[in-house]
Symmetry: C2
Subunit: 161 residues, 2 copies
């Protein structure tokens, strides 16, 4: 059975914020990471393409880092949105986060031929700053652990919009 994220926070971002190479639905050449709730945890499911190799057969670490990055900011957005009384799909515009720091521990070589599943556990460390701990699985194998500290998007990002 194929697992799928039905209601993703990235589907709710305004068009101006939907161009991210990782998770922007409008970036035709991007990864299109989509992150939703699974109980109190968050999930992003992603099938790497052949080009996303480190060596043939194994996923490139930068793509793993990208998955963990957007899964982190998406999870933080989901969490603050829920704290504000909203769920993806209810029509409210979600808060947008940026990454303050990103950490990845690579545990095992990640096979390229099966979907990856990032599972996030979220902690509020400040009203505008959330920590997301992520485990990335290929099937039952834990391939990487990640930690993202995400902050509500500062106004410096909006000047150029």
């Amino acid at each position: 059975m194929e697992e799928k994220v039905l209601k993703a926070i990235q589907d709710e971002y305004p068009d101006d914020f939907a161009w991210c190479y990782g998770c922007g639905r409008l970036n035709e050449e991007g990864h299109h990471f989509r992150t939703g709730w699974n109980g109190e945890q968050t999930v992003t499911i992603y099938q790497p393409e052949a080009k996303h190799a480190a060596l043939p057969g194994f996923v490139y670490g930068g793509v793993m880092a990208s998955l963990i990055d957007c899964h982190g900011t998406g999870s933080a957005s989901l969490a603050l949105h829920r704290k504000n009384g909203h769920e993806p799909g209810d029509g409210a515009e979600p808060p947008r986060f940026v990454t303050a720091s990103l950490k990845v521990d690579f545990m095992k070589p990640t096979p390229q031929n099966i979907p990856l599943k990032a599972v996030g556990t979220i902690q509020e460390i400040h009203p505008k700053k959330w920590k997301v701990e992520t485990e990335v699985f290929a099937g039952d194998t834990l391939c990487a652990r990640g930690e993202v500290v995400a902050v509500v998007m500062p106004s410096t990002f909006l000047v150029k919009e």
Copy 2:
């Protein structure tokens, strides 16, 4: 004056190891990061493409992480190669590293319109394990700091070759 890395370690990897989405010269759709010496430090110069955005005008964090990742493994390869008496271009095959851990602190939004310069400082922490601390500049602006722990490629990566 355009800065350029003339002798890059990635140019010396055997063809079987030149498919990395980050730094593989044979991966047509990859970033083609190229890392060389600048005195005792290492340098990778990279011009992000328009698609590599977080928001229009700013570089995606996953691409910054990718740059730091391959700059890290490339720097470790350069360093062990030099320890073994070799420099890129002398015909010897360099050692190949994989990333054990990757950490990125995002300091400033990174503008998309100028080349990025990653500058690495390398430390041997074990004959097979090297730490690379990297600063990524856009012009004079320090946009991100990274740390990679790179290890000599284990045999588990070679089984599928």
